[in-house]
Each structure stands twice: as C-alpha cells, then as structure tokens.
Symmetry: C2
C-alpha cells in the first residue's frame, strides 16, 4: 500500500490535488501580517461563493465537529428547546451536542430511513421550539435528508434551522436562502477536497439576532463572524497551512464553477449506482434518497468487510469506506466528492470487480466498469 | 518581501524546517487507518518526552487558546473558585476563560512585573480555591513567571495548578512533576517549530480525578485523554497534515535532545540581551525574569515601531514582533524558539543595527553582532 499513490475514495477525507499540497507548504507566515490578512479575506469571500449565500461566514480551526459544536453552543442555552431529527451517526452527533447545551427533543428514525415530515410538523406545532437540527447529507448511511421540506416547516413555525452540510455543501444542491437555513456547517476535507482541520459556517441575520454572545470562548460564533467580516481575521491563531490549502481548494472550485462541480458529482454518484446495479449489489438507503457524494451499498452475501477492503487496499491501492456503529460489516461506502474523477471511479469499480471475483461473488465481469462509460 | 526566504524571528509562529513542510505534504490519508493510528501513537509518546513527564497527554486540533479553553472548561464549573495571576496578555486570557466558566478571582500585576508571592499565598490561605492559573512564559512582555514558587504554594494548599506553557514547553526549563503542575498546555507553532493549529496538554492523575466529564463536546479533555491513551486516536477528525508536521518536529526535538535544545535556546536568549546591551537598548521586563524564548525591548527614543519593523521586513527580510495591547509602539520582541540558530540571530541583529542607523539612532556599529560571537 503506497500512501502517496492510490485511488482514494472515502466519504471524506478525499483526494487532495497536488496544487493544494504545494500551496499548503509555505514556510512560516505571520498570521496577523497584511499578507495573511489578505489570504483570510479571500477565503471569506470564496466561502460565500461556496455557500451560495451572502450571509456572513465564520471560519474555525477545528474539525467539522468543532463547527457543529460552535453552531449549537452559541445558539441554544439550557432552557432552549431544540428538535433534533436523527437517522444516522451525524444526526445523532447534532442531537448529542444539543443535549449537552440545551433542552433537546429527539425524533429518531431508523438509519437510512427518511424522517416522517408530518411528525416533525406536529412536534413543531407545539410552538415552544427555538430551533431544529438536520444532517443534510447523512454520510453514515449515504442518504440525503429532505432539507427543503424541513425549511418550509421552519418558515411556518419561526424556529432556527441548523443544518449539517459537512458532506453536502459544494457537492450537492444546497439553497440556504430558499430553504431558510440559519446556520450551515461545512468541513474542509469533504466536498472541497482540502485537508482536514477546518470548518466554516454560514450564519443568517436571524441567527445573529438570537445568538448567545458569551456562551463559549474558543468556539465563539460572534467573535469569529465579526472578526472575519470586519478585519479579515480570526479571533485566535488560525491553522495557517490549512488556510493556505483551503484558499487553493476554493480557487479550484471557483475555476470549475460551483454548479459545474455539483453536476459532475451528481453524474459520479449516479454512475456509481449504475455500476452497482449492473453488478447486482443493492443500495442501502431508499433509492429516492441516495446521495451523490457518498453511496452506501449492502455487502453481497459471503463478502466479509475487512477482507474485502484489505484486498482493495493492499492489492489494488484502492481506498473505500466501511461503515460506522451497528452497520459495521454490513455496508461499504464509496465517496465521490471534490476532485474525484471518472478515471478514479472506473479504477475503483474495476478493483471492486476483481476483488468480488477473488472472493467468489458471481457477477457479469466488466458490467460495473461498463456501466460507468455511459456517464462519462 | 519574500514570503519563502526570510529571517523569521517572531515570538511564534516561528521558523519551520523544510523537513517538516515536506512531512506535512503527504496526500490524503484516512485518519482512522492503522497507518495513521501509528502516527498518532508516536506523537503521544513524543509529547510525553516533550513535556518531560509520564502524565497522560491530550492532543487537540485547534490553537493554543483551544488548549487553554480545554483546560479551564473541563476543570472548573460555575461554583468553583479559581485564582488567576495576571501580568500580561496571556495571563489575562486564562483569567477571561476562568471568568466565563467559573468563579474567577484575579490577582492583577502590571505587565512585565512578577506576582507578589506573599499575596498569592495569603489568597490561597482562604482555603476555598479549586485551582490557580499561571502563564509560565508571558510572551506579551518577555518575562518568565515564578512557576516553581507557585508550585510550592499549590502543594501546600492542595489546589489544581494549570500552567500555560505555550511558549515555554520545549524551550525553557519546565519540571511539571516537581512543580506540581496538574495541566500544562503547549502550542505547536512555538518552541516545537511546527505550524500553528495544534495544542497539547499534559494532564496529571489529580486533574483526572477532578475533571468534569460532560462540560463540553469538541474540547472534551476526558475524551481526548482516554482516546489517545487507549486507542492512539483523537475523538474527532484530526488536522492530518498538522499532525504529520508535529510528528516530524517532535522527532527533530528528540534528535537534538530536550536538554540540549533548552540550553541552546538559553544561549540564544542571553546572546540577544547581550547584543541589546551593547547597542544601548534596554530590556522591558526586570532582567531577573527575562525570558530566553522571547526578549522584549523598549524602543529607543525616536524609533517608531511600524517604520522600524517595515524597514526590517521590506529591506532586510527580517521579521520580528511588535507588541500587544497598551504596549503597542513601546516595545519590540525577538523570538528565539525552535530551530532558530545563531546564524539567524546574527542576521537579525545586523539588520536591526542597519535599521537603527538609517533611523538616526546612535550606537557603536557592530557592537550588537559582535556581542553574539561570544555566545556562539
């Protein structure tokens, strides 16, 4: 297994372009210097392009979970009632966070199944919620949650809508303004294709009216938003190399064009499913909700997770994802975010075919890779 | 000003060795893979070497302030009384954090002046404190606070001792066990010479008995300590490139030897003061408390801060620090941490001499650089 030469198709982190690695490798730079202030200002403006909204943004040196924490701990206090929709690992993380800082009520659905919108509406009818959380693209199950529909309910009931967009922003159709999203969170190592370690938030005017100014220190949303807007700076020392990398990744996104990237990712996601159909491998979530940034597939009978992914990794230098929590061993996941190409996908599916054959699973050889060609 | 070729002598961030930049530039790597788990395990063991203690360690993807936040928010709740000693910007930050999460009492001393130990003792005599905070090396004023003496008081009164070691650990003499330090915090971009964006904490057994398990989420000390000790992992996605860089920086520290590095830094700090003495420039803090990782000097009359540092930067490609808060314009600061060499220091002092001359300050030419030679 060559760490520097492989086909890397996890549902995040994802393949990083050498241009980004080179941009990251600048020697020390003073983070309060005019040169770096300019970099941060460019990132701020490019993040607005990424989020496709003129809302203020915040950039924090920390993982996507730091971004989720920042959203919850600054918006909700002990007495605030928050409705958490969960149907996967990351919806649950949002709910765990809400439980820590506020009065959380969970609507729990099976992993991979959509929420019951009537039940959500009925709960919001109670009228005493300050906010609702939703994981837009549930990476753990490869499904997209109905954010526009939740956005409609949010508008009707005047609650704050916090959306985990960590694996959707920059990869799937995301319309924050239309969907009435108050805070959306992204992570650097997902659809943007930058290294892990940064999270950014898009923050509506309504959210700014309702945030709690002194709820936390390092993760203060107010300080991050205001410092970035007014001074092109972060309140505390930023992770300089990661910001240099993020700027380059954002420039690459802009060069491709947000809409073009979303369309390309959409085709990659569809092609992955077409290949799996052709091989007789079934999807884990309902097809209607299948995600184009990460496809989750049920293991065919007799294929053992670790053995399968070990052959892929060691023999073919192809990295795909296993599953999390109770789904471990039952599904595998293929990420198609960022700069992932049809060339990468073809190589990945070819290696999967070879490994299936080695493990005795019967299928029509070449059917998977063949199915991709139609989408290329 | 060439961002890629200069003499970089801030009090952090500091010069980064190209070996570290190269180590950082690896393509994507799965942070839960066996390969990366091994990297994290190595970092954990090397951090214990850095802290010179067998105490457990935590590694968080965030700045030094994230580390400070982590120390306070996990150790002290609303009703816990905490004594904060402040005589500079970072002592104040520790106090601001304590004020946010706990019942903080400040002992405030002028910037650059040592705390009155009798007053500290008298305050602790009251007997109801859970902890005390001290910034060991106060970067804002170039002074070292009397941590061993505070450690003695801590032992007598059985309070938790939280020490900001962000610019001392790995650069100054630090004896956590002898000084009864319960939590010490370091930052990656200081004495270690790695890029900004990571913080590590050394955590005593006593601290682990008294921490608050569910005080916060992303910054949970318990989760970070336990996951690192038991699984060689971090609870949430780590900033992968920064960890690769930190591992390389820790290896470089170990190759040099912790004690050797501290001695080298000590000579660099002394040489800086000898050069300034020779030029007739006075020290800001009392000499007895002067730090060897950052020297703070009073500007000679007639030398204007921004003009001085701009000439240094633009004409000589030498980067040194100005001041913070009310000291802005009054002092300048020279950092000698990490891999800073006598060659760097000589170049820096030479550029300062040239700039002083250009700005009309009178001194004996060559006296500054000459003074360094004795220490080389």
């Amino acid at each position: 297994m060559d760490l520097e030469d492989n086909v890397f198709m996890l549902p995040g982190p994802v393949k990083i372009h050498p241009r980004i690695l080179r941009a990251m490798s600048l020697p020390s730079i003073a983070h309060r210097s005019p040169e770096f202030t300019e970099v941060i200002g460019e990132i701020r403006d490019l993040l607005k392009y990424l989020f496709d909204s003129q809302n203020d943004v915040a950039l924090v040196s920390g993982s996507g979970t730091a971004g989720l924490d920042m959203a919850i701990c600054n918006m909700f206090g002990k007495d605030d009632k928050v409705l958490n929709i969960t149907n996967g690992k990351f919806g649950e993380r949002f709910a765990d966070l809400s439980e820590m800082y506020s009065n959380s009520v969970r609507l729990v659905y099976p992993w991979g199944k959509p929420p019951d919108l009537e039940q959500v509406a009925a709960e919001l009818e109670k009228g005493d919620y300050k906010g609702i959380t939703l994981c837009h693209n549930e990476t753990s199950t490869g499904m997209v949650n109905p954010a526009p529909e939740i956005g409609e309910l949010v508008k009707k009931h005047d609650v704050l809508f916090l959306m985990d967009g960590i694996t959707s922003v920059g990869g799937l159709e995301v319309r924050l303004d239309e969907w009435n999203v108050d805070i959306a969170i992204m992570g650097s190592q997902k659809c943007l294709g930058a290294p892990a370690g940064l999270s950014a938030l898009s923050v509506s005017e309504r959210a700014k009216e309702k945030w709690i100014p002194d709820a936390c220190y390092y993760l203060s949303l107010k300080k991050h938003v205001e410092k970035l807007r007014e001074k092109s700076q972060t309140p505390y020392t930023p992770a300089v190399p990661l910001l240099l990398a993020m700027k380059e990744a954002l420039l690459m996104l802009k060069e491709e064009g947000l809409q073009n990237r979303i369309e390309r990712i959409s085709k990659l996601g569809q092609a992955t499913r077409a290949a799996m159909d052709a091989l007789g491998v079934t999807l884990f979530p309902e097809r209607k909700y299948a995600s184009n940034t990460v496809n989750a597939m049920n293991y065919p009978e007799g294929i053992e997770d670790l053995q399968f992914r070990n052959i892929l990794k060691k023999k073919h230098s192809v990295i795909i994802g296993g599953a999390q929590a109770h789904l471990k061993g039952k599904i595998f996941r293929i990420g198609t975010m960022g700069i992932c190409s049809f060339t990468d996908l073809t190589a990945c599916i070819g290696a999967i075919e070879s490994t299936f054959k080695e493990l005795g699973f019967e299928f029509q050889e070449g059917a998977g890779t063949g199915a991709i060609v139609d989408y290329m």
